[in-house]
Protein backbone atom coordinates (compact mmCIF):
# COMPACT_ATOMS: atom_id res chain seq x y z
CA UNK A 1 0.00 0.00 0.00
CA UNK A 2 1.30 3.45 -0.87
CA UNK A 3 1.88 6.04 1.85
CA UNK A 4 0.21 8.66 -0.33
CA UNK A 5 -3.13 8.02 -2.03
CA UNK A 6 -2.81 11.21 -4.08
CA UNK A 7 0.43 12.84 -5.20
CA UNK A 8 0.57 15.68 -7.66
CA UNK A 9 3.73 17.35 -8.81
CA UNK A 10 3.90 20.72 -10.54
CA UNK A 11 0.29 20.35 -11.64
CA UNK A 12 -0.89 23.23 -13.81
CA UNK A 13 -3.99 23.94 -15.82
CA UNK A 14 -4.81 26.98 -17.89
CA UNK A 15 -8.14 28.09 -19.38
CA UNK A 16 -7.20 30.51 -22.13
CA UNK A 17 -4.95 33.14 -20.56
CA UNK A 18 -6.04 32.30 -17.02
CA UNK A 19 -3.83 29.99 -14.98
CA UNK A 20 -6.38 28.25 -12.78
CA UNK A 21 -4.10 25.67 -11.17
CA UNK A 22 -0.48 26.72 -10.80
CA UNK A 23 2.33 24.24 -10.05
CA UNK A 24 0.28 22.37 -7.47
CA UNK A 25 2.14 19.70 -5.53
CA UNK A 26 -0.30 17.90 -3.25
CA UNK A 27 0.38 14.95 -0.99
CA UNK A 28 -2.61 13.19 0.51
CA UNK A 29 -1.64 10.47 3.02
CA UNK A 30 -3.45 7.13 3.00
CA UNK A 31 -6.00 6.83 5.81
CA UNK A 32 -6.44 10.58 6.12
CA UNK A 33 -9.36 12.94 5.83
CA UNK A 34 -7.75 15.63 3.71
CA UNK A 35 -9.53 18.99 3.63
CA UNK A 36 -8.75 20.92 0.46
CA UNK A 37 -9.53 24.50 1.32
CA UNK A 38 -9.76 27.68 -0.63
CA UNK A 39 -12.09 30.55 -1.41
CA UNK A 40 -14.51 30.29 -4.33
CA UNK A 41 -12.61 30.35 -7.63
CA UNK A 42 -9.34 29.27 -6.01
CA UNK A 43 -9.00 26.22 -8.28
CA UNK A 44 -10.43 23.48 -6.03
CA UNK A 45 -13.00 22.09 -8.49
CA UNK A 46 -10.55 22.28 -11.39
CA UNK A 47 -8.03 20.32 -9.30
CA UNK A 48 -10.65 17.67 -8.54
CA UNK A 49 -11.57 17.41 -12.23
CA UNK A 50 -7.89 16.98 -13.04
CA UNK A 51 -7.59 14.25 -10.41
CA UNK A 52 -10.55 12.39 -11.93
CA UNK A 53 -9.27 12.70 -15.50
CA UNK A 54 -12.17 14.94 -16.54
CA UNK A 55 -9.67 17.60 -17.59
CA UNK A 56 -6.23 17.25 -19.10
CA UNK A 57 -3.21 18.79 -17.43
CA UNK A 58 -1.10 21.45 -19.15
CA UNK A 59 1.92 20.32 -17.15
CA UNK A 60 2.78 18.27 -14.10
CA UNK A 61 1.85 14.77 -13.01
CA UNK A 62 -0.92 13.13 -11.01
CA UNK A 63 -0.39 9.82 -9.27
CA UNK A 64 -3.21 8.11 -7.41
CA UNK A 65 -2.35 4.92 -5.49
CA UNK A 66 1.06 5.35 -7.11
CA UNK A 67 -0.37 5.07 -10.65
CA UNK A 68 -0.60 7.81 -13.24
CA UNK A 69 -4.19 8.89 -13.88
CA UNK A 70 -3.25 9.55 -17.51
CA UNK A 71 -2.02 6.06 -18.31
CA UNK A 72 -4.08 4.03 -15.77
CA UNK A 73 -7.33 6.03 -15.73
CA UNK A 74 -9.81 3.13 -15.59
CA UNK A 75 -8.08 0.93 -12.96
CA UNK A 76 -7.51 4.02 -10.79
CA UNK A 77 -11.12 5.23 -11.15
CA UNK A 78 -12.33 1.74 -10.20
CA UNK A 79 -10.78 2.30 -6.75
CA UNK A 80 -12.26 5.77 -6.28
CA UNK A 81 -15.70 7.08 -5.38
CA UNK A 82 -16.39 10.66 -6.38
CA UNK A 83 -18.93 13.36 -5.79
CA UNK A 84 -18.13 16.36 -8.00
CA UNK A 85 -20.02 19.50 -6.90
CA UNK A 86 -23.75 18.74 -6.53
CA UNK A 87 -24.60 15.03 -6.78
CA UNK A 88 -25.43 14.05 -10.35
CA UNK A 89 -28.58 12.05 -9.82
CA UNK A 90 -31.34 11.06 -12.22
CA UNK A 91 -34.45 12.54 -10.60
CA UNK A 92 -36.91 10.30 -12.44
CA UNK A 93 -35.25 7.19 -11.01
CA UNK A 94 -35.55 5.99 -7.44
CA UNK A 95 -32.60 6.16 -5.07
CA UNK A 96 -32.07 2.41 -5.48
CA UNK A 97 -32.24 2.68 -9.28
CA UNK A 98 -29.63 5.42 -9.24
CA UNK A 99 -27.39 3.13 -7.22
CA UNK A 100 -28.12 0.17 -9.52
CA UNK A 101 -27.09 2.33 -12.47
CA UNK A 102 -23.77 3.04 -10.76
CA UNK A 103 -23.38 -0.65 -9.83
CA UNK A 104 -23.56 -1.58 -13.51
CA UNK A 105 -20.93 0.97 -14.48
CA UNK A 106 -18.60 0.21 -11.55
CA UNK A 107 -18.97 -3.59 -11.81
CA UNK A 108 -20.28 -3.72 -8.25
CA UNK A 109 -22.60 -6.41 -6.88
CA UNK A 110 -26.08 -4.86 -6.43
CA UNK A 111 -26.12 -6.41 -2.93
CA UNK A 112 -23.87 -3.53 -1.92
CA UNK A 113 -26.80 -1.11 -2.40
CA UNK A 114 -28.38 -2.00 0.96
CA UNK A 115 -25.07 -1.49 2.75
CA UNK A 116 -24.43 2.00 1.39
CA UNK A 117 -28.04 3.06 1.93
CA UNK A 118 -27.66 1.99 5.57
CA UNK A 119 -24.46 3.99 5.97
CA UNK A 120 -26.14 7.20 4.78
CA UNK A 121 -29.41 6.48 6.60
CA UNK A 122 -31.54 6.21 3.48
CA UNK A 123 -32.64 2.57 3.77
CA UNK A 124 -36.31 3.47 4.07
CA UNK A 125 -36.22 5.99 1.21
CA UNK A 126 -34.44 3.95 -1.47
CA UNK A 127 -37.69 3.16 -3.28
CA UNK A 128 -38.71 6.80 -3.70
CA UNK A 129 -37.99 8.82 -6.83
CA UNK A 130 -35.07 11.16 -6.27
CA UNK A 131 -37.12 14.18 -7.38
CA UNK A 132 -39.02 13.84 -4.10
CA UNK A 133 -35.80 13.95 -2.00
CA UNK A 134 -34.71 16.95 0.03
CA UNK A 135 -31.33 18.51 -0.77
CA UNK A 136 -29.79 16.78 2.24
CA UNK A 137 -31.10 13.40 1.11
CA UNK A 138 -29.71 13.97 -2.37
CA UNK A 139 -26.34 14.85 -0.90
CA UNK A 140 -26.40 11.67 1.20
CA UNK A 141 -27.40 9.60 -1.83
CA UNK A 142 -24.48 11.20 -3.68
CA UNK A 143 -22.22 10.01 -0.88
CA UNK A 144 -23.79 6.53 -1.11
CA UNK A 145 -22.95 6.49 -4.82
CA UNK A 146 -19.36 7.38 -3.99
CA UNK A 147 -19.21 4.59 -1.38
CA UNK A 148 -20.48 1.85 -3.70
CA UNK A 149 -18.02 -0.99 -4.18
CA UNK A 150 -15.93 -0.12 -1.13
CA UNK A 151 -13.53 2.35 -2.78
CA UNK A 152 -10.17 3.02 -1.17
CA UNK A 153 -10.51 6.76 -1.69
CA UNK A 154 -13.48 9.09 -1.98
CA UNK A 155 -13.14 12.52 -3.56
CA UNK A 156 -15.87 14.94 -2.57
CA UNK A 157 -16.29 18.47 -3.89
CA UNK A 158 -18.02 20.71 -1.33
CA UNK A 159 -20.04 17.81 0.15
CA UNK A 160 -21.87 19.99 2.66
CA UNK A 161 -22.97 22.62 0.15
CA UNK A 162 -26.59 23.55 0.63
CA UNK A 163 -27.08 21.40 3.72
CA UNK A 164 -28.80 22.71 6.84
CA UNK A 165 -26.85 22.64 10.13
CA UNK A 166 -28.21 19.21 11.07
CA UNK A 167 -27.26 17.85 7.63
CA UNK A 168 -23.78 19.33 7.90
CA UNK A 169 -23.29 17.70 11.29
CA UNK A 170 -24.51 14.35 9.96
CA UNK A 171 -22.21 14.54 6.92
CA UNK A 172 -19.31 15.55 9.18
CA UNK A 173 -19.79 12.48 11.37
CA UNK A 174 -20.03 10.21 8.35
CA UNK A 175 -16.85 11.54 6.76
CA UNK A 176 -14.78 11.77 9.93
CA UNK A 177 -15.37 8.06 10.60
CA UNK A 178 -14.59 6.86 7.08
CA UNK A 179 -10.86 6.04 7.53
CA UNK A 180 -11.39 4.17 10.81
CA UNK A 181 -14.73 2.45 10.30
CA UNK A 182 -14.51 1.76 6.55
CA UNK A 183 -10.80 2.02 5.72
CA UNK A 184 -11.46 4.78 3.20
CA UNK A 185 -9.25 7.82 2.68
CA UNK A 186 -11.23 11.01 2.12
CA UNK A 187 -10.28 14.02 -0.02
CA UNK A 188 -12.84 16.78 0.32
CA UNK A 189 -12.91 20.36 -0.81
CA UNK A 190 -14.50 23.22 1.05
CA UNK A 191 -14.27 26.96 1.43
CA UNK A 192 -15.02 26.80 5.16
CA UNK A 193 -12.02 26.23 7.42
CA UNK A 194 -14.13 25.80 10.54
CA UNK A 195 -16.03 22.97 8.89
CA UNK A 196 -12.92 21.17 7.66
CA UNK A 197 -11.10 21.75 10.95
CA UNK A 198 -13.68 19.59 12.68
CA UNK A 199 -13.18 16.54 10.51
CA UNK A 200 -9.86 16.72 8.65
CA UNK A 201 -6.63 15.14 9.79
CA UNK A 202 -4.77 17.02 7.04
CA UNK A 203 -5.34 20.33 5.32
CA UNK A 204 -4.25 21.86 2.02
CA UNK A 205 -4.97 25.52 1.41
CA UNK A 206 -5.12 26.82 -2.16
CA UNK A 207 -5.50 30.40 -3.34
CA UNK A 208 -5.36 31.70 -6.91
CA UNK A 209 -4.37 28.21 -8.05
CA UNK A 210 -1.31 27.97 -5.79
CA UNK A 211 -0.89 25.81 -2.73
CA UNK A 212 -0.37 28.08 0.30
CA UNK A 213 -0.16 25.47 3.04
CA UNK A 214 -0.16 21.71 3.41
CA UNK A 215 -0.06 19.78 6.67
CA UNK A 216 -2.08 18.92 9.75
CA UNK A 217 -4.37 21.45 11.45
CA UNK A 218 -1.92 21.40 14.39
CA UNK A 219 0.93 22.38 12.08
CA UNK A 220 -1.20 25.24 10.84
CA UNK A 221 -1.88 26.32 14.42
CA UNK A 222 1.83 26.12 15.21
CA UNK A 223 2.48 28.72 12.52
CA UNK A 224 0.33 31.24 14.33
CA UNK A 225 2.31 34.33 15.30
CA UNK A 226 1.18 36.69 18.00
CA UNK A 227 0.73 40.32 17.04
CA UNK A 228 0.28 43.69 18.65
CA UNK A 229 -2.96 45.50 18.00
CA UNK A 230 -3.38 49.20 18.51
CA UNK A 231 -6.80 50.83 18.49
CA UNK A 232 -6.71 54.44 17.28
CA UNK A 233 -8.24 56.97 14.89
CA UNK A 234 -6.93 57.33 11.29
CA UNK A 235 -5.29 53.83 11.18
CA UNK A 236 -4.08 54.13 7.53
CA UNK A 237 -2.10 57.30 8.27
CA UNK A 238 -0.77 55.85 11.52
CA UNK A 239 0.36 52.66 9.77
CA UNK A 240 2.13 54.68 7.08
CA UNK A 241 3.97 56.79 9.66
CA UNK A 242 4.98 53.68 11.61
CA UNK A 243 6.28 52.02 8.44
CA UNK A 244 8.36 55.14 7.72
CA UNK A 245 9.96 54.58 11.13
CA UNK A 246 10.80 50.98 10.27
CA UNK A 247 7.92 49.24 12.08
CA UNK A 248 6.02 46.82 9.77
CA UNK A 249 2.52 48.10 10.57
CA UNK A 250 -0.65 47.15 8.71
CA UNK A 251 -3.96 49.01 8.96
CA UNK A 252 -6.89 46.75 9.78
CA UNK A 253 -10.63 47.19 9.91
CA UNK A 254 -12.31 48.59 13.01
CA UNK A 255 -9.71 51.37 13.51
CA UNK A 256 -6.88 48.98 14.24
CA UNK A 257 -3.20 48.91 13.35
CA UNK A 258 -1.44 45.55 13.60
CA UNK A 259 2.25 44.90 14.14
CA UNK A 260 4.27 41.77 14.96
CA UNK A 261 4.44 41.09 18.70
CA UNK A 262 7.26 43.04 20.34
CA UNK A 263 8.86 43.68 23.72
CA UNK A 264 7.61 46.14 26.33
CA UNK A 265 10.10 48.93 25.46
CA UNK A 266 9.20 48.90 21.79
CA UNK A 267 5.50 48.97 22.65
CA UNK A 268 6.03 52.02 24.89
CA UNK A 269 8.04 53.76 22.17
CA UNK A 270 5.35 53.13 19.55
CA UNK A 271 2.64 54.39 21.88
CA UNK A 272 4.62 57.57 22.64
CA UNK A 273 5.33 58.10 18.94
CA UNK A 274 1.63 57.92 18.08
CA UNK A 275 0.41 60.06 20.98
CA UNK A 276 2.99 62.77 20.22
CA UNK A 277 1.61 62.96 16.68
CA UNK A 278 -1.92 63.53 17.91
CA UNK A 279 -3.45 60.05 17.44
CA UNK A 280 -6.07 59.10 19.99
CA UNK A 281 -4.82 55.68 21.13
CA UNK A 282 -7.58 53.85 22.99
CA UNK A 283 -6.33 50.25 22.92
CA UNK A 284 -3.03 48.35 22.94
CA UNK A 285 -3.25 44.56 23.21
CA UNK A 286 -1.52 41.36 22.25
CA UNK A 287 -3.43 39.19 19.73
CA UNK A 288 -3.32 35.48 18.86
CA UNK A 289 -4.85 34.98 15.38
CA UNK A 290 -7.60 32.41 14.98
CA UNK A 291 -7.35 29.70 12.33
CA UNK A 292 -10.01 31.60 10.40
CA UNK A 293 -7.83 34.70 10.34
CA UNK A 294 -4.83 32.66 9.23
CA UNK A 295 -6.88 31.13 6.45
CA UNK A 296 -7.99 34.61 5.44
CA UNK A 297 -4.42 35.89 5.41
CA UNK A 298 -3.18 32.88 3.42
CA UNK A 299 -5.86 33.17 0.78
CA UNK A 300 -6.02 36.92 0.30
CA UNK A 301 -4.14 38.37 -2.66
CA UNK A 302 -0.98 40.13 -1.52
Amino acid sequence: MHDMVIETSGLSRRFGDRLVVDSLSLQVPAGSVFGFLGPNGAGKTTTIRLLLGLLRTNSGTIRIFGESITTHRLPVLARIGALVEAPSLYPHLTGTENLRHACLLKRVDPKDIDRVLRIVNLSSDGGRQVKTYSLGMKQRLGLALALLGRPELIILDEPTNGLDPAGIQEMRHLLRDMPVSHGISVFLSSHLLTEVDQMASHIGIIAAGRLQFQGSPDELRARRQSSLRIGLDRPEIAAELLRQQGWPAVAREQNLVELPAMDQDSTVRINRFLVERGFGVHLISGHQPTLEEMFFDLTQPA
Binding site: L54, L55, A82, Q129
Partner: protein
Protein backbone atom coordinates in the same frame (compact mmCIF):
# COMPACT_ATOMS: atom_id res chain seq x y z
CA UNK B 1 -20.67 -9.42 -18.48
CA UNK B 2 -18.72 -7.17 -20.85
CA UNK B 3 -18.29 -3.52 -20.00
CA UNK B 4 -20.21 -2.51 -23.13
CA UNK B 5 -23.20 -4.66 -22.16
CA UNK B 6 -23.13 -3.25 -18.63
CA UNK B 7 -23.05 0.29 -19.97
CA UNK B 8 -25.91 -0.50 -22.33
CA UNK B 9 -28.00 -1.94 -19.48
CA UNK B 10 -27.26 1.18 -17.43
CA UNK B 11 -28.50 3.32 -20.34
CA UNK B 12 -31.64 1.20 -20.64
CA UNK B 13 -32.29 1.59 -16.92
CA UNK B 14 -32.28 5.36 -17.34
CA UNK B 15 -35.19 5.17 -19.80
CA UNK B 16 -37.64 4.28 -17.05
CA UNK B 17 -40.45 6.84 -16.67
CA UNK B 18 -39.10 9.02 -19.47
CA UNK B 19 -40.92 10.67 -22.36
CA UNK B 20 -38.29 9.15 -24.66
CA UNK B 21 -39.55 5.67 -23.79
CA UNK B 22 -43.19 6.49 -24.54
CA UNK B 23 -42.28 8.28 -27.77
CA UNK B 24 -41.22 4.91 -29.17
CA UNK B 25 -44.90 4.07 -29.42
CA UNK B 26 -46.44 7.54 -29.60
CA UNK B 27 -44.64 8.64 -32.80
CA UNK B 28 -45.68 5.67 -34.98
CA UNK B 29 -48.99 5.56 -33.10
CA UNK B 30 -49.82 9.04 -34.38
CA UNK B 31 -49.31 7.93 -37.97
CA UNK B 32 -51.36 4.81 -37.41
CA UNK B 33 -54.21 6.86 -35.95
CA UNK B 34 -54.11 9.29 -38.92
CA UNK B 35 -54.11 6.39 -41.38
CA UNK B 36 -57.01 4.72 -39.67
CA UNK B 37 -59.07 7.93 -39.63
CA UNK B 38 -58.25 8.66 -43.28
CA UNK B 39 -59.61 5.28 -44.47
CA UNK B 40 -62.46 5.24 -41.97
CA UNK B 41 -63.72 8.72 -42.85
CA UNK B 42 -63.30 8.40 -46.64
CA UNK B 43 -64.74 4.94 -47.21
CA UNK B 44 -66.54 5.93 -50.44
CA UNK B 45 -63.39 7.39 -51.96
CA UNK B 46 -61.26 4.34 -51.23
CA UNK B 47 -64.02 1.80 -51.98
CA UNK B 48 -64.45 3.30 -55.45
CA UNK B 49 -60.82 2.67 -56.28
CA UNK B 50 -61.74 -1.00 -56.88
CA UNK B 51 -58.16 -2.09 -56.15
CA UNK B 52 -56.40 -3.70 -53.21
CA UNK B 53 -55.75 -0.99 -50.66
CA UNK B 54 -52.69 -2.59 -49.10
CA UNK B 55 -50.44 -0.68 -51.54
CA UNK B 56 -51.99 2.67 -50.60
CA UNK B 57 -51.79 1.85 -46.91
CA UNK B 58 -48.15 0.78 -47.33
CA UNK B 59 -47.13 3.85 -49.32
CA UNK B 60 -48.94 6.31 -47.05
CA UNK B 61 -47.52 4.76 -43.90
CA UNK B 62 -43.92 4.67 -45.01
CA UNK B 63 -43.91 8.05 -46.77
CA UNK B 64 -45.35 9.83 -43.72
CA UNK B 65 -42.92 7.95 -41.52
CA UNK B 66 -39.84 8.34 -43.72
CA UNK B 67 -40.29 11.92 -44.91
CA UNK B 68 -41.65 13.63 -41.83
CA UNK B 69 -42.00 11.64 -38.65
CA UNK B 70 -38.78 9.60 -38.58
CA UNK B 71 -36.33 12.53 -38.92
CA UNK B 72 -38.24 14.54 -36.32
CA UNK B 73 -38.54 11.49 -34.08
CA UNK B 74 -34.79 10.83 -34.24
CA UNK B 75 -34.13 14.50 -33.52
CA UNK B 76 -36.37 14.49 -30.48
CA UNK B 77 -35.20 11.14 -29.11
CA UNK B 78 -31.49 11.90 -29.34
CA UNK B 79 -32.02 15.35 -27.80
CA UNK B 80 -34.08 13.88 -24.94
CA UNK B 81 -31.53 11.14 -24.28
CA UNK B 82 -28.58 13.54 -24.32
CA UNK B 83 -30.58 15.90 -22.11
CA UNK B 84 -30.48 13.26 -19.36
CA UNK B 85 -26.74 13.97 -19.04
CA UNK B 86 -26.64 17.66 -20.02
CA UNK B 87 -29.10 18.56 -17.26
CA UNK B 88 -27.18 19.53 -14.12
CA UNK B 89 -24.04 18.52 -16.00
CA UNK B 90 -24.31 14.84 -15.10
CA UNK B 91 -21.42 14.14 -17.45
CA UNK B 92 -18.97 14.89 -14.65
CA UNK B 93 -20.21 11.89 -12.64
CA UNK B 94 -20.77 9.61 -15.59
CA UNK B 95 -17.31 10.21 -17.03
CA UNK B 96 -15.67 9.78 -13.61
CA UNK B 97 -16.89 6.15 -13.64
CA UNK B 98 -14.41 3.41 -14.55
CA UNK B 99 -15.90 2.98 -18.01
CA UNK B 100 -14.12 3.64 -21.32
CA UNK B 101 -15.49 6.66 -23.15
CA UNK B 102 -16.13 4.63 -26.31
CA UNK B 103 -18.45 2.30 -24.38
CA UNK B 104 -20.50 5.27 -23.18
CA UNK B 105 -20.65 6.81 -26.67
CA UNK B 106 -21.67 3.58 -28.39
CA UNK B 107 -24.16 2.45 -25.77
CA UNK B 108 -25.82 5.85 -26.03
CA UNK B 109 -25.87 5.37 -29.82
CA UNK B 110 -27.39 1.90 -29.63
CA UNK B 111 -30.38 3.21 -27.66
CA UNK B 112 -31.81 5.51 -30.40
CA UNK B 113 -31.00 2.83 -32.98
CA UNK B 114 -33.02 0.31 -30.96
CA UNK B 115 -35.80 2.86 -30.61
CA UNK B 116 -35.97 3.34 -34.39
CA UNK B 117 -36.11 -0.45 -34.85
CA UNK B 118 -38.93 -0.88 -32.33
CA UNK B 119 -40.89 2.12 -33.64
CA UNK B 120 -40.56 1.02 -37.25
CA UNK B 121 -41.68 -2.51 -36.39
CA UNK B 122 -44.52 -1.11 -34.30
CA UNK B 123 -45.56 0.99 -37.30
CA UNK B 124 -45.44 -2.07 -39.55
CA UNK B 125 -47.47 -4.26 -37.23
CA UNK B 126 -49.90 -1.44 -36.55
CA UNK B 127 -50.41 -0.66 -40.25
CA UNK B 128 -51.20 -4.32 -41.00
CA UNK B 129 -53.55 -4.42 -38.03
CA UNK B 130 -55.18 -1.22 -39.31
CA UNK B 131 -55.95 -2.98 -42.62
CA UNK B 132 -57.39 -6.04 -40.89
CA UNK B 133 -59.57 -3.95 -38.55
CA UNK B 134 -60.71 -1.61 -41.34
CA UNK B 135 -61.88 -4.46 -43.58
CA UNK B 136 -63.79 -6.03 -40.73
CA UNK B 137 -65.67 -2.83 -39.83
CA UNK B 138 -65.91 -1.46 -43.41
CA UNK B 139 -66.20 -4.52 -45.70
CA UNK B 140 -66.34 -2.23 -48.78
CA UNK B 141 -62.66 -1.42 -48.23
CA UNK B 142 -60.63 -3.90 -50.22
CA UNK B 143 -57.88 -5.35 -48.07
CA UNK B 144 -57.67 -8.84 -49.56
CA UNK B 145 -55.84 -11.91 -48.33
CA UNK B 146 -53.01 -12.75 -48.24
CA UNK B 147 -51.84 -9.95 -45.99
CA UNK B 148 -48.61 -8.61 -47.58
CA UNK B 149 -46.61 -8.64 -44.35
CA UNK B 150 -43.41 -9.43 -46.25
CA UNK B 151 -43.64 -6.17 -48.26
CA UNK B 152 -44.26 -4.13 -45.10
CA UNK B 153 -41.54 -5.88 -43.14
CA UNK B 154 -38.99 -5.48 -45.93
CA UNK B 155 -39.60 -1.74 -46.15
CA UNK B 156 -39.50 -1.41 -42.38
CA UNK B 157 -35.98 -2.85 -42.34
CA UNK B 158 -34.89 -0.76 -45.31
CA UNK B 159 -36.16 2.37 -43.55
CA UNK B 160 -34.28 1.41 -40.41
CA UNK B 161 -31.01 0.99 -42.31
CA UNK B 162 -31.60 4.20 -44.30
CA UNK B 163 -32.06 6.14 -41.07
CA UNK B 164 -28.75 5.02 -39.54
CA UNK B 165 -26.87 8.04 -40.88
CA UNK B 166 -29.29 10.59 -39.45
CA UNK B 167 -29.34 8.74 -36.11
CA UNK B 168 -25.55 8.92 -35.86
CA UNK B 169 -25.49 12.60 -36.92
CA UNK B 170 -28.13 13.55 -34.36
CA UNK B 171 -26.44 11.45 -31.71
CA UNK B 172 -23.23 13.40 -32.28
CA UNK B 173 -25.00 16.78 -32.44
CA UNK B 174 -27.09 16.22 -29.31
CA UNK B 175 -24.07 15.13 -27.26
CA UNK B 176 -22.11 18.12 -28.53
CA UNK B 177 -24.76 20.84 -28.12
CA UNK B 178 -25.77 21.33 -24.54
CA UNK B 179 -29.21 22.84 -25.06
CA UNK B 180 -32.30 20.95 -26.12
CA UNK B 181 -33.41 23.83 -28.36
CA UNK B 182 -30.15 23.88 -30.30
CA UNK B 183 -30.06 20.18 -31.06
CA UNK B 184 -33.76 19.98 -31.99
CA UNK B 185 -33.37 23.14 -34.06
CA UNK B 186 -30.73 21.42 -36.18
CA UNK B 187 -33.06 18.47 -36.78
CA UNK B 188 -36.11 20.59 -37.63
CA UNK B 189 -34.14 22.72 -40.11
CA UNK B 190 -32.58 19.64 -41.71
CA UNK B 191 -36.00 17.99 -42.05
CA UNK B 192 -37.53 21.09 -43.67
CA UNK B 193 -34.65 21.22 -46.15
CA UNK B 194 -35.24 17.55 -46.93
CA UNK B 195 -38.82 18.38 -48.09
CA UNK B 196 -37.29 20.58 -50.78
CA UNK B 197 -34.49 18.22 -51.76
CA UNK B 198 -36.21 14.85 -51.63
CA UNK B 199 -37.09 14.80 -55.34
CA UNK B 200 -33.77 16.17 -56.50
CA UNK B 201 -31.52 13.46 -57.87
CA UNK B 202 -28.56 15.78 -57.65
CA UNK B 203 -28.86 16.93 -54.01
CA UNK B 204 -31.52 14.68 -52.48
CA UNK B 205 -29.32 11.61 -52.68
CA UNK B 206 -26.63 13.42 -50.68
CA UNK B 207 -28.81 14.98 -47.98
CA UNK B 208 -28.91 12.40 -45.15
CA UNK B 209 -32.39 13.42 -43.99
CA UNK B 210 -33.78 12.49 -47.43
CA UNK B 211 -32.52 8.92 -47.35
CA UNK B 212 -35.54 7.15 -45.74
CA UNK B 213 -37.92 8.95 -48.10
CA UNK B 214 -35.80 8.17 -51.17
CA UNK B 215 -36.47 4.47 -50.64
CA UNK B 216 -39.93 5.19 -52.01
CA UNK B 217 -38.53 6.48 -55.31
CA UNK B 218 -38.88 3.68 -57.84
CA UNK B 219 -35.65 3.80 -59.78
CA UNK B 220 -33.24 0.96 -60.39
CA UNK B 221 -30.31 0.88 -58.00
CA UNK B 222 -31.57 3.66 -55.76
CA UNK B 223 -32.23 1.38 -52.76
CA UNK B 224 -28.71 -0.01 -52.94
CA UNK B 225 -27.19 3.49 -53.13
CA UNK B 226 -29.28 4.74 -50.19
CA UNK B 227 -28.34 1.80 -47.99
CA UNK B 228 -24.62 1.92 -48.79
CA UNK B 229 -24.47 5.68 -48.25
CA UNK B 230 -26.34 5.40 -44.95
CA UNK B 231 -24.26 2.54 -43.52
CA UNK B 232 -20.87 3.90 -44.62
CA UNK B 233 -21.80 7.44 -43.56
CA UNK B 234 -23.03 6.20 -40.17
CA UNK B 235 -19.78 4.36 -39.61
CA UNK B 236 -17.67 7.40 -40.47
CA UNK B 237 -19.75 9.77 -38.30
CA UNK B 238 -19.71 7.30 -35.38
CA UNK B 239 -15.96 6.83 -35.49
CA UNK B 240 -15.40 10.59 -35.70
CA UNK B 241 -17.87 11.08 -32.84
CA UNK B 242 -16.14 8.45 -30.69
CA UNK B 243 -12.78 10.14 -31.26
CA UNK B 244 -14.19 13.56 -30.35
CA UNK B 245 -16.06 12.24 -27.30
CA UNK B 246 -12.99 10.39 -26.00
CA UNK B 247 -11.01 13.63 -26.01
CA UNK B 248 -13.73 15.83 -24.59
CA UNK B 249 -13.01 17.71 -21.38
CA UNK B 250 -15.63 18.29 -18.69
CA UNK B 251 -15.12 21.83 -17.45
Amino acid sequence: MSIFLRTLLAELLKLRRTLAFWLVFLAPGLILALEFLMFHERVDFFANKHQPLWDILHRNSFSLWGVLMLPLYVTLQTALLAGLEHTEDRWRSLLAMPVPRWAIYWSKLVIPCLMVVISSLFLTGGALLNGVVLRSIQPRLLFPDPIPWDLFLRDAWLTIVASLLIVTIHHFVSLRLRTFAASTGVGVCATIISFILVNSDKYGRLWPWCLPARLLVTKPGITHDVLVYSVVGALVVSLAGTWEFSRREIR
